[in-house]
């Protein structure tokens, strides 16, 4: 072998798993391989799962192409269409197709998918008897529907029902024959299946349950004419679709002597028993499981690509799958162990006449499975809880009413994507309606929330419509949608390491700058990106408050300019007004500055202070100098305000001095950076005028002391805070509140609000660290004081000339001469 020649990779099977692997590989190592693909079908790679909408007449074949022939050419891939590989010569490392085409390989990827299982009954090879697997089958069904009347679908599973629904929509008279006592028994319990059957019957489908097919009867024309059952009954049929299951397509691998056991057996790196040969997709058996849904296959593809690219750092450890039926108008979701058994308990909510059924199976305070029918709005949420193995004890009371009932703003209270009309707005931030999202998913072949965000911008801003977008994804592509595993979230696309791993290494390996951290973790992109740089900057700042030099270029503009950028590129300035208590002198100064700099808008903020909106960037240092007030940090992932009510000093109900405590807290936390914004409030009595129970830390005065609440949120998704502890004195409040905030600073992921973090780690954990462990609490409090004692006010530093370039544009003085006038 000469060194100039590239390694050769041959792919057998031009389907969803194989080509996804190539896409992932090309992202990681675009030039590593000379790639050849063999495909038995005459088409480029298409989205097999959308054959159902094609059959139903909702889409065309053109709509469902994922990679057309041009794509292969553009990526320098040799594509052999319509060529079935019949032999793998492992000694000479060569594959041979039926027509004699050969290709040599250094690495081989098997992605041959699976074969539909055909019942071994007489007549199974008659014309008019088909399976449902590819474009050819679909075309045949469409063609039959235009000429014949009676269709029988054998198999009442996912595939069979989608076929039956499509044929019915194309005008055929359809009967579904099923061996088991209820439909989709592998995904549904009896009650849910009953509801499903009822709504499909309402669409005109007929069902024969517990029926065993004995023979497919040949008619005079030579074509199928009837189906005969064991009990002697017969049913007329011009078309029979067998959808009774699939078998991994391992014939080729077996002939080549590769170890197979109901699938080509692979290890966690997707490697077969021949180290040069990898396998992905439905043809694979991994830890004894062969998957038949797209989502796990895509996870396999990602891992396989990583190893083909010789990065060698990822493992596939299996998937938990969920199912959705893609029949328009039917909403059904199923995941995990939905039947239950010893040691499990069930929570069931059932309204059969309203067509609604919800069942969750719970074991050891964790969701292990569930079935939803009629209202699947919370399917993604439950599935996430299931996959993450999250303890649901605290959620139990509101589990059934669902996440979407916890108060979402921004989309008219809609929480059921299926019933939304196409023109209804889903994402209020970016003005994206449902139809646009569905169209993008179908036309661009999107599979993940991230992809939808990138392409449509839906849910990419505030994120409150994430649940809706997930539902739309799930109902458009079925079980192919898999919510991300939040328990292992890489920091960003530049690395595979998680926030937690990176934070730990920063401390343990004493990494003290962004380049050091990126070097240590072998960041994929030079300088990272706009997601990881601010996160790293914060993590370093939090770990090394004395040693780390803040990197302004790794901060979002608001934090670099210490003001909020507005949509016209001007800035807003919010000076700090501790506890919302001000003086005539302060107010006069603000008024004078507003006049002097012609500030177009003055607004009282929700945080009890005054916002000067529309200041030009170059005026900022002068405005700050004239105001001579501390920065309100209204722009940062930082302490915002401590909102207070008037409290016992004036209020006739007040039992505690909420204003003084609020001011003291705001002074103690001044200039504090955090993973996200931090808002506090203090109320002087349980009437709670400061709305303390929707804050990151809320304090409510009672006669005998103070109650401390944490992890509330008043924003996109209203979250009522959780009770942490009751204490007697204001000093104790300072200690507990600071300790809680410091724990959040040290352990939350960048951009987590306290609520997200607490939901992940659990309130029990927080109480253990803050309430039970007095030494730990005091240490946290001290660490926060330490971190803040040297922080300078950013405005006053800039008034004295720091970062002057940031604010000064360069101006032409004459046509040819330009000067960098940093000062007037």
């Amino acid at each position: 072998m000469t060194t100039t020649k590239k390694t050769r990779l041959v792919v057998i099977g031009n389907g969803m798993a194989g080509i996804r692997t190539l896409e992932e590989l090309l992202k990681l190592a675009p030039d590593m391989y000379d790639i050849t693909v063999f495909g038995a079908e005459p088409h480029g790679n298409y989205n097999r799962i959308l054959l159902s909408p094609v059959l139903a007449g909702e889409m065309t074949i053109k709509d469902i192409m994922l990679n057309d022939v041009d794509w292969y050419a553009q990526n320098g891939i040799t594509l052999h269409l319509n060529k079935t590989v019949t032999q793998i010569d492992r000694v000479r490392r060569k594959v041979i197709a039926a027509d004699g085409t050969e290709a040599d390989y250094d690495r081989l990827l098997l992605s041959t998918g699976s074969n539909p299982f055909m019942l071994p009954v007489p007549g199974k090879d008659l014309p008019g008897v088909i399976s449902y697997r590819d474009i050819k089958d679909t075309d045949e069904m469409i063609e039959a529907a235009s000429r014949y009347r009676h269709a029988v679908v054998i198999g009442g599973g996912l595939l069979g029902l989608e076929a039956a629904n499509g044929l019915k929509l194309r005008g055929m008279d359809v009967t579904v024959v099923h061996l088991m006592p209820w439909l989709m028994e592998r995904q549904l319990d009896r009650t849910a299946a009953g509801l499903l059957q009822k709504s499909l019957e309402a669409k005109g489908l007929k069902f024969l349950l517990e029926k065993q097919t004995e023979e497919l009867v040949k008619g005079e024309s030579g074509r199928i004419c009837a189906v005969k059952f064991k009990d002697g009954e017969t049913l007329p049929a011009d078309l029979v679709v067998m959808a009774v299951g699939i078998r991994p397509n391992t014939g080729l691998a077996e002939t080549a002597g590769l170890y197979c056991n109901r699938g080509v057996v692979v290890n966690d790196t997707m490697q077969t028993y021949d180290p040069r040969i990898y396998a992905v997709g439905e043809c694979v058996s991994h830890r004894g499981i062969a998957y038949g849904l797209v989502a796990p296959l895509f996870e396999q593809a990602k891992v396989c690509a990583n190893h083909l690219a010789q990065l060698g750092i990822s493992r596939y450890t299996g998937s938990v799958t969920s199912t959705k039926l893609k029949v328009t108008g039917i909403d059904l979701f199923s995941a995990g162990d939905f039947i239950g058994g010893e040691g499990t308990e069930e929570i069931v909510l059932s309204d059969p006449s309203g067509g609604m059924y919800k069942k969750l199976v719970i074991k050891d305070d964790k969701i292990v499975g569930g079935v939803l029918y009629g209202d699947t709005a919370d399917g993604s949420w439950y599935f996430q809880l299931l996959r993450d193995g999250q303890n649901i004890r605290e959620l139990r009371g509101r589990l059934m009413s669902g996440q979407s009932h916890l108060g979402n703003s921004g989309h008219q209270g809609q929480n059921n994507a299926a019933s939304m009309p196409d023109e209804m707005e889903v994402c209020g931030c970016n003005g994206v309606c449902k139809g646009t999202i569905v169209k993008a998913i179908k036309e661009k072949g999107l599979f993940t929330l991230e992809e939808v965000r990138k392409h449509t911008k839906a849910s990419s801003s505030c994120g409150s419509c994430t649940g809706l977008v997930e539902q739309i994804l799930a109902s458009t592509i079925g079980g192919a949608y898999q919510p991300v595993d939040t328990s292992r979230k890489p920091l960003c696309g530049c690395t595979d390491y998680t926030h937690e791993e990176i934070r730990k290494a920063i401390v343990e390996r004493k990494l003290k700058s962004i380049p050091e951290a990126m070097g240590f973790f072998e960041w994929r992109n030079v300088n990272g990106c706009a997601s990881c740089r601010p996160a790293l900057n914060y993590y370093l700042l939090c770990a090394w408050p004395y040693d780390y030099r803040d990197d302004p270029q790794s901060r979002f503009i608001n934090e670099r300019a210490h003001a909020n950028i507005q949509k016209d590129g001007s800035y807003s300035v919010v000076p700090r007004i501790y506890g919302g208590v001000t003086t005539p002198a302060q107010l006069k100064r603000i008024a004078e500055v507003a006049e002097k700099y012609a500030v177009p808008t003055l607004k009282i903020t929700g945080g009890q202070r005054i916002d000067l909106l529309g200041v030009k960037k170059e005026d900022l240092p002068k405005v700050w100098a004239d105001l001579d007030m501390p920065s309100g940090f209204a722009y940062g992932k930082s302490i915002r305000t401590v909102k207070t009510c008037v409290g016992s000093e004036w209020c006739r109900f007040g039992v505690q001095d909420s204003t003084s405590l609020g001011i003291a807290l705001e002074k103690a936390l001044d200039r504090m950076w955090a993973p996200h914004k931090v808002k506090l409030a203090v109320s002087g009595c349980p009437r709670n005028c400061a709305e303390a129970t929707i804050k990151d830390v809320g304090i409510v005065g009672v006669d005998s002391g103070w109650e401390i609440y944490v992890a509330g949120n008043g924003g996109i998704k209203a979250e009522v805070s959780l009770f942490l502890v009751k204490v007697k004195s204001a000093e104790e409040v300072m200690e507990y509140a600071s300790a809680f905030i410091q724990l959040y600073r040290e352990e939350a992921r960048y951009l987590d609000r306290t609520v997200h973090w607490v939901q992940r780690v659990g309130m029990d954990y927080v109480k253990k660290r803050i309430v039970a462990d007095a030494t730990g609490r005091k240490a946290l409090h001290e660490r926060l004081k330490d971190a803040l004692c040297d922080e300078k006010d950013p405005w006053q530093e800039r008034v004295r000339g720091a970062e002057a370039q940031e604010f000064m544009p360069i101006r032409f003085q004459s046509k040819n001469h330009v000067s960098g006038d940093t000062h007037e």
Partner: protein
Amino acid sequence: MSEWIRICPLEEIPRLGSRVVQTVKGDVAVFRNGSDEVFALRDQCPHKGGPLSQGIVFDRKVTCPLHGWTVQLDSGEAVAPDCGCTHRYRARVDKGEVYLNLS
């Protein structure tokens, strides 16, 4: 017409940062990346006109501060899947001084 105009010494643009130059053709953002290359773009994002000069710079790209589009510094093209282009001007460094060409 090909006129190079001296802007400022290279060190007056922060590494992985930018300066705004006010010109007869409007604001131009002059960027300096991690390997001290300089680039100049019209200071308007192809999306909704956000000031690209205020974005985070990495590699040969900048991410717009308003809605997070990423724009290629060497071409002015938005990075896929976003689609759009902002005007690019020529910029270079010579003996530690940054020059801009508006033609």
